[in-house]
C-alpha cells in the first residue's frame, strides 16, 4: 500500500473558460494496438491556436505513433480526430485516403528527425519546397520560385543555396529545408518529430531558435515530440507526458518541470536535472 496515492490524471482542469482560446486540434479516445502491444490507450489531446504542445516520453511510450496519427499517416483502432480548418467538420480518420492526403498536404506540416523521411535528398532544396506547392495545385514556375524562396528565407535558410540538394547540406540546414517545406502552405498545424535530435548542441539551439521565432511571429500552432526534456522546456507552452500508450500527466511547461505530480514524471524530470 502506497503512502501517497499517485494522482489519477484526468484532472478537472481541462475545460477552458476564457472564450478566446480556441482548439485547433482535438483528439478523443485514441486507442491502438500493434498485435498484442497496446500502443495507445484512450488518449485525449487538445491543442489550442498558437501554442506549442510538447509531448515527452521514452521510446515505446506511443508519442511518435500519436504524432503519425496527427499527420494522418496512420489510423487508430478507435478514436476521433478533428482539426479546426475550413471544410473539415467530420472525424478525419473517417475520411478516405485521398481526402486525408489532400488535407495533410494543405493543412499539416511535419519535420522529421530523419531528413530522409521528409526530403528528396537529391532534388534541389527549393524543389523540395516546390513539391509541397505543386501538391496544392501551384502551376506557375515563377510562383514556385518566389514562394519557395520565401519559405526557405522564413526558415533562415541561406537562399543563395536554395538549389543545392539536401544531400550536400549539413544536418541543421536539412532541418531548415524540412521546415520550409512544412510551412510553405502556412499549415494550421506544424508537427515536429524530434526535430533537433542528433544535431550538435549549438546547431540544435539555432534550429530551436528559428522555430521559436516562427511561433512568435506567425503564431503557428505546433506539436513537438521529443525525448529531450531540454528541448521541450525551451519550446513548449504546455507538456503532455506519455508512458506505455497513456497520458500520465499534462500541464503548463513550468509546472511539469517544477512541480511534477505523477511518479513517472517526477522520475523523468529528476533524472534529467
Amino acid at each position: 500500500m502506497s503512502l501517497i496515492e499517485a494522482p489519477s490524471f484526468k484532472r478537472d482542469l481541462d475545460a477552458p473558460k476564457l472564450n478566446r482560446t480556441q482548439p485547433i486540434l482535438t483528439m478523443h479516445g485514441i486507442s491502438h494496438r500493434f498485435g498484442d502491444v497496446r500502443a495507445l490507450q484512450d488518449v485525449d489531446v487538445t491543442v489550442y491556436a498558437g501554442e506549442v504542445l510538447g509531448i515527452v516520453g521514452e521510446s515505446g511510450s506511443g508519442k511518435s505513433t500519436l504524432l503519425r496519427m496527427m499527420n494522418l499517416e496512420e489510423k487508430p483502432d478507435q478514436g476521433d480526430y478533428r482539426l479546426a480548418i475550413p471544410g473539415a467538420t467530420a472525424n478525419l480518420f473517417a475520411l478516405d485516403r485521398f481526402a486525408r492526403r489532400m488535407l495533410r498536404a494543405r493543412h499539416i506540416g511535419i519535420v522529421y528527425q530523419n531528413p530522409h523521411l521528409g526530403l528528396l535528398m537529391r532534388n534541389s532544396s527549393s524543389g523540395n519546397v516546390a513539391e509541397r506547392l505543386l501538391i496544392s495545385g501551384e502551376r506557375r514556375f515563377s510562383a514556385l520560385r518566389s514562394r519557395g524562396r520565401q519559405a526557405l528565407d522564413a526558415s533562415e535558410f541561406p537562399t543563395e543555396r536554395m538549389d543545392a540538394p539536401p544531400i550536400e547540406l549539413s544536418g541543421g540546414m536539412q532541418q531548415r529545408v524540412q521546415l520550409a517545406k512544412a510551412i510553405a502552405l502556412e499549415p494550421a498545424l506544424l508537427l515536429l518529430d524530434e526535430p533537433t535530435t542528433g544535431l550538435d548542441v549549438s546547431v540544435q539551439a539555432l534550429v530551436l531558435d528559428t522555430l521559436k521565432r516562427l511561433q512568435r511571429e506567425r503564431a503557428i500552432t505546433m506539436v513537438l515530440v521529443s525525448h529531450d526534456l531540454g528541448v521541450i522546456r525551451t519550446m513548449a507552452d504546455r507538456v503532455m507526458v506519455m508512458r506505455k500508450g497513456r497520458v500520465v500527466e499534462e500541464g503548463l511547461a513550468d509546472q511539469i518541470f517544477q512541480d511534477p505530480q505523477h511518479p513517472y514524471t517526477q522520475s523523468l524530470v529528476h533524472a534529467k536535472l
Binding site: L3, D14, K17, L18, Y48, A205, R238, G251, L252
Partner: protein
C-alpha cells in the same frame, strides 16, 4: 471600492515525493484579498515557503486545496482549477512573474527581448523599440549593449534586461520574487520607481523582498508565513 483583483481562500500546498513515499507540507489555510494598486509583502524566515506561495499563485506549482479567484475581464476565474490554456492566456495578458533569473534566448538582442511583450500586445515595431530603449536606459543598461545578445551578459546586466522586459507592459497583477537581488544601487532605484509608477496605474503586486526597507513606502499589507502553520495577514 472596486472588486478585488485577487481573492485567495484557504489555499494549501504540499509536495508528494513519490520515490521517497514522502509528503512535504508547504502551507495551508492561506487567504487574503488584494485590490487594484495594493502591494502585499510576503514575510517569513528562510525556507518557510514564500517563493512557494508565489509559484502556487502563478500555477507553476499545483495548488492542493482552496481557491485563487482572479478578476479576469471575462469574469472571476479560479486559478487553482483553471484550465492550463486559460492560465497561459492570463499570464500573457494579466499576470506577470519577475524573478532574478533570466531565460535568455540565443541570437535575440536585448532590445528585442524587452520589446517583445509590447509587440505581442500589438504595438508597432518602431514604437515598441522606442519604449524598450526607454526602459533599458532607465535600468542603466549601456546603449552599446542594446543590440547585443544577453546570453553573453553578466548576471547583473541580465537581471536588468529581465526586469525591463517584465515591467515594460503594465499588467494587472505582478508577482515579484526577490527582484532586487544582485542589482546595483542605480538599477534598484529604477526598479522601485517603476513599481511605484505601476502601483499608481493600479497594478496589484505580491512580493518577496530580502530588504524590506527598499520598498517600505509601497507596502499596503504584509503576510507572514510561519513554519507548518497558517499564515497571518496584517494590515
Amino acid at each position: 471600492m472596486s472588486d478585488p483583483v485577487l481573492e485567495v481562500e484557504n489555499l494549501a500546498k504540499h509536495f508528494d515525493i513519490h520515490h521517497l513515499q514522502q509528503r512535504v507540507f508547504a502551507f495551508s489555510g492561506v487567504g487574503f484579498r488584494l485590490f487594484p494598486g495594493q502591494f502585499l509583502l510576503l514575510r517569513g524566515s528562510n525556507g518557510v515557503g514564500k517563493s512557494t506561495l508565489l509559484r502556487t499563485l502563478y500555477r507553476s506549482y499545483v495548488p492542493k486545496g482552496g481557491h485563487i479567484w482572479f478578476d479576469a475581464a471575462e469574469g472571476r476565474i479560479d486559478l487553482a482549477t483553471a484550465a492550463d490554456v486559460d492560465v497561459a492566456a492570463l499570464r500573457r495578458r494579466d499576470i506577470g512573474f519577475v524573478t532574478q533569473f533570466l531565460i535568455a534566448r540565443p541570437r535575440v538582442a536585448a532590445e528585442e527581448l524587452v520589446a517583445e511583450p509590447l509587440r505581442l500586445a500589438g504595438w508597432p515595431k518602431a514604437q515598441a523599440l522606442d519604449e524598450a530603449h526607454r526602459w533599458l536606459d532607465e535600468f542603466g543598461v549601456k546603449r552599446e549593449l542594446w543590440r547585443a545578445y544577453p546570453t553573453t551578459f553578466s548576471g547583473g546586466e541580465q537581471q536588468k534586461i529581465n526586469l525591463a522586459r517584465a515591467l515594460v507592459l503594465p499588467q494587472r497583477l505582478l508577482l515579484l520574487d526577490e527582484p532586487t537581488a544582485s542589482l546595483d544601487a542605480g538599477a534598484r532605484r529604477a526598479l522601485i520607481r517603476r513599481l511605484g509608477a505601476l502601483k499608481l496605474q493600479g497594478v496589484a503586486m505580491i512580493g518577496v523582498f530580502h530588504h524590506k526597507e527598499d520598498i517600505a513606502e509601497l507596502i499596503d499589507m504584509e503576510l507572514t508565513l510561519t513554519v507548518k502553520e497558517m499564515a497571518d495577514v496584517a494590515e
